[in-house]
């Protein structure tokens, strides 16, 4: 890879890290990193004057994220194609895991408002797993850049 491209990718990784940190802060601030927080955010709480989220409200939140997730995952993962991980099982597993976790993170709120409270766990676990999987991918890319 040309040196200038390598710099561009390196900075992209730095921006990606900022994106992950900001999403963690946002999740913690708006929903909270607990099952109770997730349930309260989506199902509401009369004592705290929190209303239950409707189908439309959830759709408004996830709509830009569906596109952004797809684009971000594709861009980050396609950089792995330029590394030694290209032909490994790890690349395939990471791709499936990231897209599946992204899907669960986006759509689990619908199951919560349908009364399946178990999906509060799914929402939380998928969010944390997604953050960790993306961090791991960023680490793989960073180490590949320095190996060159």
């Amino acid at each position: 890879m040309q040196q200038a491209y390598r710099y561009a990718v390196l900075y992209f990784l730095a921006f990606s890290l900022l994106l992950l940190v900001s999403s963690l802060l946002l999740f913690d601030d708006k929903i909270g990193l607990s099952v109770h927080g997730v349930l309260e955010y989506y199902l509401g709480n009369e004592d705290k004057f929190l209303v239950e989220k409707s189908w439309g409200t959830i759709l408004k939140i996830i709509l830009p994220h569906i596109f952004a997730f797809g684009l971000f995952f594709m861009v980050v993962l396609h950089f792995l194609l330029f590394t030694k991980h290209r032909t490994t099982q790890l690349f395939i597993k990471l791709t499936y895991a990231i897209f599946i976790m992204g899907f669960l993170e986006l759509f689990s709120p619908y199951f919560i408002i349908m009364g399946l409270e178990f999906f509060a766990y799914v929402k939380l676990v998928s969010f944390i797993s997604l953050e960790l999987l993306l961090l791991y991918t960023l680490w793989l890319l960073l180490s590949s850049i320095y190996q060159h």
Binding site: Y7, Y11, F12, S16, L71
Partner: protein
């Protein structure tokens, strides 16, 4: 990113209009971004300070924490995607190696500094707002010049 593999972009009748369109839209984005940031956050130190922290004398409320986090989260995504695209096009079209590396480093570092200084200004010290303003203008102007330079080379350079 197929354009990075094509030998002579000027002779490629499919890729040239595509890149022209992309670069024009990137230029339009930077122009529009100036107006949007001016209306939502402000472009100068005092305006930004009032938006973020409010002003009791003028009955302006401070920006809510979740609103600020949503704003910066969206900014990070857009900046990272647009700068990755622009820098890749720029490296391909304006390939003076040492020069392009300096330009890309300045662009990316100032953009990173913009986001980090805004974040730190809101949560820790408003003194960093000046740094935010300076770095914001640096990366916007630099990115604008890079897009113009790429457009020029794509259409008027003898060989790319």
């Amino acid at each position: 990113m197929r354009f990075t593999l094509i030998k002579d972009l000027k002779e490629d009748m499919a890729m040239k209009p595509l890149l022209n369109g992309l670069l024009l839209f990137i230029l339009l984005y930077f122009i529009a971004d100036f107006f949007v940031v001016n209306a939502s956050l402000g472009l100068l130190h005092e305006d930004i300070k009032m938006t973020l922290f409010g002003n009791a004398d003028e009955f302006v409320d401070p920006m809510d924490k979740s609103v600020f986090l949503e704003y910066i989260h969206g900014q990070i995504f857009f900046i990272m995607m647009i700068l990755l695209t622009l820098s890749t096009v720029y490296v391909r079209l304006c390939s003076i190696k040492r020069y392009s590396i300096i330009v890309i480093n300045t662009l990316m570092l100032s953009a990173l500094l913009t986001l980090i200084s805004l974040f730190l200004s809101y949560f820790y010290t408003p003194n960093l707002l000046n740094l935010y303003v300076v770095s914001f203008f640096i990366w916007h102007i630099l990115a604008f010049i890079m897009a113009l330079h790429s457009l020029w080379n794509l259409n008027f350079a003898t060989s790319i």
